[in-house]
């Protein structure tokens, strides 16, 4: 393993966290990460040394996820992994999952994909706005507007009755 490979390995926990929040299911999330790593290794010659490896990997994973979503909508009648993806996505984590995780997963699930992406990349993964724009391949202004709309919407789901449903964290 050279330095690049080590940097990739170091990013795997972050890829897994993002994919888990995005898909809401551990096995599907790891499948996505696996696909992402396979593609990244195939395309490592395209990687520019000195670039941001996390952004590069997240962009690959994002494209895989988007393509999957497109395939899904192009063939709605087909029973496929994509279909089970959608089913699982719409299920909250089970009863044994921590309450916070269930609430969060439920709320994220209500958001359009495009808003969920920016909220997770920025709010969870801590990416700079410009980095998120690179990952999603959209202008930074679009990132900001999706972020604003997404957070507003998420807030409605989380404290619909006026009181925060989520416990405050210190």
């Amino acid at each position: 393993m050279n330095e690049e490979h080590q940097i990739i390995v170091d990013q795997v926990p972050h890829l897994r966290r993002y994919a888990r929040a995005l898909l809401g299911d551990k096995a599907l999330a790891d499948d996505l990460v696996q696909e992402c790593l396979t593609r990244a290794m195939d395309r490592l010659h395209l990687w520019r040394p000195g670039g941001n490896m996390r952004v590069w990997l997240m962009a690959i994973m994002h494209n895989l996820h988007i393509n999957e979503a497109k395939r899904r909508s192009a063939r709605p009648d087909q029973i496929s992994l994509a279909a089970s993806h959608e089913n699982l996505r719409s299920q909250a984590p089970g009863q044994d999952a921590p309450l916070l995780l269930r609430d969060m997963s439920n709320a994220l699930n209500q958001l359009p994909d495009e808003q969920r992406h920016v909220i997770l990349l920025i709010g969870l993964e801590g990416l700079e706005y410009a980095e998120a724009a690179d990952v999603l391949d959209i202008p930074i202004g679009t990132v900001m507007s999706r972020l604003g709309r997404g957070r507003k919407k998420l807030r409605e789901f989380l404290d619909a009755d006026g009181a925060p449903r989520l416990r405050s964290v210190k």
Partner: protein
């Protein structure tokens, strides 16, 4: 912006994420003190970030599944092999060494994916036989190299494949002889070579047993003894010597030049 300016929606997001300049941050704080609705929004958004972390940070602490790490490490290793300039030479050698076991089939380079237990066992056997017999002074070989014709005729018959000796003289190694061995239930042949420095190298070969998974070339290193080995549709081979990867590869290149002449 100044105190009198309404905050832009983007500034609000930046404040939530801690991306405002220190100056703007002070102004934003002043603004929020006067605008409780915006302040409530900021509070809610910060809570969102905190709750996202609390909900999903646990993933960072989970052990990474080996399958995911393997994608990177195995492909990294394969890339390293493919990228090594001497490699094509070595791959051609393998093709040439097929002469060694006449009738060698195509397909020897089939990619086998993860190391299967069987090739690993074969390599371990080759390594073990090397260590045991190179240590012998008087009985290192069963049939000496002086009886080369007999040696190869006999072992070809026992293994069920026609074998020929690769000439390693150009690499400074002369054939000492060979012996019949058991690789598990299968007959195997070991040929031993020695150079002027009394370094000994062995070639270990047997017929593939039909269930063998083809492998690409693999290198193993055990306490200073290196082995290149591979399995194709018909044969399993190993080249073992007390050398690192590079010198062993160099010898392999010499073999190739010799054989292809």
């Amino acid at each position: 912006m100044n105190n009198a300016d309404p905050m832009s929606p983007d500034d609000l997001q930046k404040f939530v994420d801690g991306r405002l300049s220190p100056e703007d941050q002070v102004r934003m704080e002043a603004w929020l003190a006067e605008h409780p609705e915006d302040a409530a929004q900021v509070h809610a958004y910060r809570l969102q970030n905190a709750n996202l972390s609390q909900a999903y940070d646990g993933v960072l602490d989970e052990p990474v599944p080996a399958a995911l790490k393997d994608i990177v490490t195995m492909r990294a290793n394969r890339r390293a092999r493919e990228a090594r300039p001497a490699m094509p030479g070595w791959m051609r050698i393998a093709a040439a060494i097929v002469i060694f076991a006449a009738g060698g089939s195509a397909g020897w380079l089939a990619h086998g994916g993860a190391p299967a237990p069987e090739p690993a066992r074969f390599a371990a056997n080759a390594m073990g036989a090397h260590k045991i017999f190179v240590a012998e002074r008087r009985h290192a070989v069963e049939v000496p190299g002086g009886q080369e014709a007999h040696l190869f005729k006999w072992l070809s018959k026992r293994l069920g494949v026609t074998l020929k000796a690769p000439d390693l003289a150009s690499a400074g190694f002369r054939l000492m002889g060979g012996r019949l061995l058991a690789d598990g239930p299968l007959p195997a042949a070991q040929f031993m070579y020695e150079n002027a420095e009394k370094k000994r190298m062995t070639v270990y070969v047997r017929a593939a047993d039909g269930n063998s998974k083809n492998t690409e070339f693999r290198f193993e290193d055990n306490e200073g003894t290196g082995a290149f080995y591979w399995i194709d549709a018909k044969y399993a081979y190993a080249l073992v010597a007390p050398m690192g990867r590079a010198p062993l590869l160099d010898i392999a290149n010499r073999i190739y030049r010799d054989l292809s002449r």
